[in-house]
């Protein structure tokens, strides 16, 4: 039954939660995000405790320039929006729309990741190595863990997009897309906190 393609006429209102398996995934993933929240909270706490420890290396004032980070933020926030469009398409039974919007999301994610790599590369050339100071280590760990999450998310979504490029929407893949989008929103929210706590506070505070 789960193999069956759901077209506009047979589509349940919420295909991602129409099966027990889907409901389990949905709930389990929310719990997972709860754990991820603690994971990032620990990294934020570490960063806040160590951001003054610049020793003789460059500190936040020497490094951060808001224009680049602002562009990155806008790109990632837009990618969250496009993933919402993807889910709206899914709920309307517009499978093609789902795929297209998810590809847009992936493209924006890649752009963000590219800029982040460029940013790290630049900081490295300003003399901020991973082992330079406690500030450097905790900065790279926090922002790098977020970047790794973005990279994983891109790999995940691309896998789904290629695997399900021809199948149409089914009760099996609907929860998969939905959960991937939840994950994408989560890393977006984490970035909002990084933008505020790391960059704005580093710049102004």
């Amino acid at each position: 039954m789960a193999d069956q393609t759901v077209n506009q006429h047979t589509l349940p209102p919420n295909p991602e939660k129409a099966t027990l398996e889907g409901r389990n995934k949905f709930l389990g993933f929310w719990f997972f995000l709860g754990g991820e929240t603690v994971l990032f909270a620990s990294l934020f706490g570490t960063y806040l405790g160590l951001r003054g420890g610049v020793v003789s290396g460059p500190g936040p004032d020497d490094l951060f320039h808001l224009p680049l980070v602002f562009i990155m933020t806008m790109i990632l926030l837009t990618s969250s929006l496009t993933s919402v469009f993807a889910i709206i398409s899914m709920k309307r039974g517009n499978y093609k729309g789902l795929l297209v919007w998810m590809w847009v999301t992936v493209a924006l994610g890649l752009a963000f990741l590219g800029l982040e790599i460029y940013e790290f590369y630049e900081y490295y050339h300003y003399g901020l190595g991973f082992t330079t100071s406690a500030f450097a280590s905790s900065f790279y760990t926090l922002v790098g863990t977020h970047g790794a999450h973005v990279a994983f998310g891109i790999g995940w979504i691309v896998t789904l997009l290629i695997r399900y490029r021809k199948t149409g929407l089914t009760l099996t893949n609907a929860p998969k897309f939905y959960v991937a989008v939840l994950y994408w929103h989560f890393i977006d929210v984490v970035w909002v906190f990084i933008f505020s706590v790391v960059y704005l506070m580093g710049y102004g505070g």
Partner: protein
Amino acid sequence: MSNAKAQSKSVLWDWLTTVDHKKIGIMYLVAGAFFFALGGLEAILMRIQLMFPEFSFVPAQTFNELLTMHGTTMIFLAAMPLLFGFMNYIVPLQIGARDVAFPFLNALGFWLFLFGGILLNVSWFVGGAPDAGWTAYVPLSSESPGTGVDYYVLGLQVSGAGTLIGGINFLVTIINMRAPGMSMMRMPLFTWSTFVASMLILFAFPALTIGLLLLMLERIFGATYFAVDFGGNVIIWQHLFWIFGHPEVYILILPAFGIFSEILSAFSKKRLFGYSAMVFATLIIGFLGFMVWAHHMFTVGMGPVANSIFAVATMAIAVPTGIKIFNWLLTLWGGRIQFTTANLFALAFIPSFTMGGVTGVMLATSAANYQFHDTYFVVAHFHYVIIGGVVLGLFAGAYYWWPRIFGYKLDETLGKWFFWLFLIGFHLTFFVQHFLGLIGMPRRVASYLGGQGLDTMNFISTIGAFLMGIAFIIFVVSIFTSMKNKVTDADPWGNGRTLEWTMPIPTPEYNFAQTPLVRDVDALWYEKYEGDGKMKAAEPLGDIHMPNGSILPFIMSLGLFISSFGFIYYHEGFLWLAILGLVINFGAMFVRSIKEDHGYHIPKEEVIKGGK
């Protein structure tokens, strides 16, 4: 979707690929028991070393390794997996489910735990085990030479991931998979405590994940979080460790509380006194468990305000715990108490654990804590709560659920020998340690000078440890000698109250031929008194959907295991091994993602045949 795929090729392959929560539960129990014996052996070696002043049974370095591995093994590789074994086997049965929410992840959690545990213990054979204590405080751990602490970091990281996965699985199982009529407030207390403990796992383990990640990056890649001369801070580790470490204590004790609640009620033939108070006390303990981590750090220098807040919060936990103690006593009150081995362990728990609780409140008094800190008083305290609580709970649960899990009853005569020897040995070992601590013996020392009033009590303590060792051997022997006491009755104790006593023994792989309809707390007991003693069915007989087994959880865990070696020997040029392991791991994840597996159905006729 055919049944054929599920027919296993061989017994070994069947166990490697199983996603059946009952088989996974048994594997957790077997692996946990192995590590329990290992941790116990380490303890006995330490106690021999401390039997006489300035004894030279093991060198100081080995003692440090034994000390570290004893704590780490007992917490992560023995107590938790053993509890996970019971949770896996019993919780789905108690809520009337055919399986857990994520059978595949369940298997993955087990294999991650096992590979993590093996990884940790490989360190013994390659240059020495970790030696910085189970808390691995920096800078001792970040500066510790050799690869011991690297094994600690990666072993715990791998097994910790498994625990986290297990926790999420139980949460979703308990919320989504309950049988009709099984409302939250009708769930057996063991299921409730599993639920709260899983919540704690979910929110506590990521802090450890980060702590271990930081320590790994510091040790292997030269990061400077804990290096004071680079602007680092050593206290961060302590906070991260205890933000995890304190909830961890409740992760261990709450399921044990659940086990006792089941057993005391079953063997008093009475409904648990104050069911809803018990549930809320469990929730409150779980909540407060996150508010008290810094009571492990009173002497660090957080200042009187922080110390006072954490002291008061800690003492507050005594209130819900006290509620529980009184509820257990009132459950026994007026009951027809049967002194089975399972119940003896439960009865012995009440006073033993209360003693640990009392010293807990003493330790929570932050001013007095400066005297107790890092002495044997602390050692006595936490062994009273962990052995007096968790280990007695595990043994009680083993005796109680043994017929359900293994199909035979453990011998009661040997069981009573085991119980009394263990209980006496336990108190002999740890009671005197309170006084050793109060007169100033520091913990974690490999030796002590004679003639300072420490000799006799240390000797007594070691004798007690021997008694516990002998008791455990009797238990192991009784496992084999009892095999003839086969049971086939669904309810071998005759006073089962909950759903795990409603299906035939051995438990069918689909658990329930028909999902039961739950009409009250203690569903089975209700049917015995208000119905015909059998559960009403909530659905007609039909085909039963089952998940297919998979080798992928094993491969994913193996990948991380291999990868860990690459990281540990990174400086010897083994980065490629780390990458290879990750490729294996992510490759298996990729396969899992793209291969749809909808499981198979057991046809109705087979279900009817199995019920006969």
